[in-house]
């Protein structure tokens, strides 16, 4: 029983990170119908930048509580990622906004490769470890263990998701975003500057990705130049699972994927009599993605859209 609860908790923590990244995919897709392939790499850049800042502060012997140092790292990561997100959109996507669909997808792959390799040139091929400066407390819940870091991840993601929902539903910018998603042309006629809205969407998504990147590296205690690829792929699967373009769907899909993955990894050995082990964990996301697309291509919460001729 307690293993079950433990897997659920781990899954929810992992899932909330997926959800944050998935929100970035889904916001961009909702407005541009573009899969921002490079989004996972933005997460990676966030993790790397924050680790660099944190390590530098720790190395300089700054006498501050660990949480504050991490917050500084987080802030730096958010700022850098916002810049990266803005630049990507400006240089690689905007010029191709009216090109055939394949073109921006291919530049997106290109951007993702470029970011990955720049990160490799800057930070090297080795794993970078997270300095042990965060509180290491453990708490018992229903016979399972939950750490301070896990609690922080859950709380911060919930707050961010609520904040984003408010922003999209209530604010002027949110209304402009929803209008642009429906029709950039008409939104333009109503006085919305579509280009600004799209830029801001990328910036917002990248900021969320930066937070997610810091969370992942704090959770696993590691960061690596290649970490963005798989994370991005899973987050995208989560966005599709929930119904791409739908914010609530992205959150639901992320949490669901996290739980399925950690339950799957925990029990696959027993279920298959030891034939398949937990090293197949990464396969689940893809299988779910394929199954969802097969049976409900619009996702759990997505609307069914007719094919446009």
């Amino acid at each position: 029983m307690d293993i079950f609860v433990q897997q659920i908790i781990n899954g929810l923590v992992l899932g909330s990170v997926y959800a944050l990244v998935a929100l970035g995919y889904t916001m961009v897709y909702g407005i541009l119908e573009l899969i921002n392939f490079a989004h996972g790499e933005v997460t990676m850049i966030g993790a790397m930048v924050s680790l660099t800042v944190i390590s530098a502060l720790v190395g300089a012997g700054v006498d501050l509580p660990g949480v504050v140092i991490v917050l500084f790292g987080l802030l730096a990561a958010i700022l850098v990622c916002m810049g990266v997100g803005f630049t990507i959109e400006r240089l690689a996507y905007r010029p191709l906004r009216n090109a055939p669909r394949l073109a921006p997808l291919i530049t997106a792959i290109g951007v993702s490769i470029v970011l990955q390799n720049i990160a490799m040139l800057i930070w090297g091929r080795q794993y970078i470890s997270f300095p042990p400066i965060l509180p290491q407390g453990r708490h018992q819940i229903l016979g399972a263990m939950i750490t301070d870091v896990q609690i922080a991840i859950l709380v911060i993601s919930v707050l961010l998701m609520l904040g984003l929902t408010l922003l999209v539903k209530k604010s002027r910018l949110g209304r402009a975003m929803r209008a642009t998603a429906q029709s950039p042309q008409i939104a333009g006629l109503m006085g919305v500057n579509a280009n600004t809205v799209i830029s801001l969407t990328f910036i917002l998504g990248s900021a969320l990705a930066a937070v997610a990147g810091v969370m992942v590296s704090a959770y696993y205690g590691l960061a690596h130049y290649y970490m963005g690829f798989l994370l991005g792929l899973k987050a995208f699967s989560a966005a599709v699972l929930g119904g791409i373009g739908n914010l609530t769907g992205a959150v639901l899909g992320g949490l669901l994927l996290g739980v399925i993955e950690s339950l799957g990894a925990g029990y696959i050995g027993d279920l298959t009599g030891g034939v398949l082990g937990s090293n197949y964990q990464d396969v689940f996301a893809f299988f779910i993605l394929i199954l969802v697309l097969l049976f409900r291509p619009s996702g759990l919460l997505g609307e069914r859209v007719g094919e446009r001729a």
Partner: protein, 373 residues
Amino acid sequence: MASVPETMNQKTRHAWLVFVALGVGLALLPFLIDAGLGRSWVRILDLALLYVMLALGLNIVVGYAGLLDLGYIAFYAVGAYCYALLASPMFGLHLPFWALLPLGAAVAGLFGLMLGTPTLRLRGDYLAIVTLGFGEIIRIFLNNLNAPINITNGPQGVNQIDPVTIAGMSLGKTQVIFGVTFSSPHLYYYLFLILTLSVIFVSMRLQDSRIGRAWAAIREDEVAAEAMGINVRNIKLLAFAMGASFGGLAGGLFAGFQGFISPESFNLMESIMILCMIVLGGMGNIPGVVLGAVLLTVLPEALRYIGDLQRAWIGHVVVDPSDLRMLLFGFALILMMLFRPAGLLPSRQRKRELGAQGAIAEQEQVSVYDAKR
């Protein structure tokens, strides 16, 4: 009246001359390269031919049928493992090359159908992600299928794979034929050249066939194609299966050529590199695809010299050229899409489309953005 057939005759004679010159050139190429650049470049030439085959296979799926496949390397892997497992000490099986080659292509084709069936209804970008996931699934399985029953030997890969043997003559060793000495890379070159030429021939005939036109129709407008009586489902599956079997063919050759394979040779970056080849060269255009494949195989090798240059000028290697390789590919993809979306040697049709579309889109944009100001 007599002059008409004569010009025709001249034309065909001219074509034949070019053909013969090309044939002699291709036949002598490995010897010229061996003499000029060294034996290792003949191996690179062999690899380039393999990549031409792969790129032409992917070109069927992406260039002809317009289905973006990011997991194409999986079929290469299937073909390679098919060959490796049935012709190595792994299971003690040593099937002949001529049986394995079609088998690898057929099994890869089956995998193509397996991937194609569930993904048929997906639109471009979803398809890209699912195929990407499929490629990763295949790789993860190859990596982990060493327990509880050892099938693929896991991350260590399969080694001591039998070299290709034709008529009792192993291509893995130096052979003397009619007094001329052929080293192993030379022998493989001729085998690969013949197969590459047949793949090119098949690709050309496919493009102009009924199936090829159906692919083009689906690529341009799926709904309209269906309305014209094209069985979209079967034709798409055919594209997947055909592209996959080309990949499987190349994979089998790769296994025999290298003598060793491991899952690491079949990662996502390889899929993307093959995509780069056809994007760079010109999607849907055979000479373009061939050019792209050769360029992208040879350029990274040439990049090695950058390492030597750094050592000569700065004294040590600042940037490892192999690290630069993927970075340059990434930039190449972006820049090509931005400035020459139809590729270096675009197919005439696609060039026209992209040109026209660009012009219309520009007009639209101007009117929309004018209205906004």
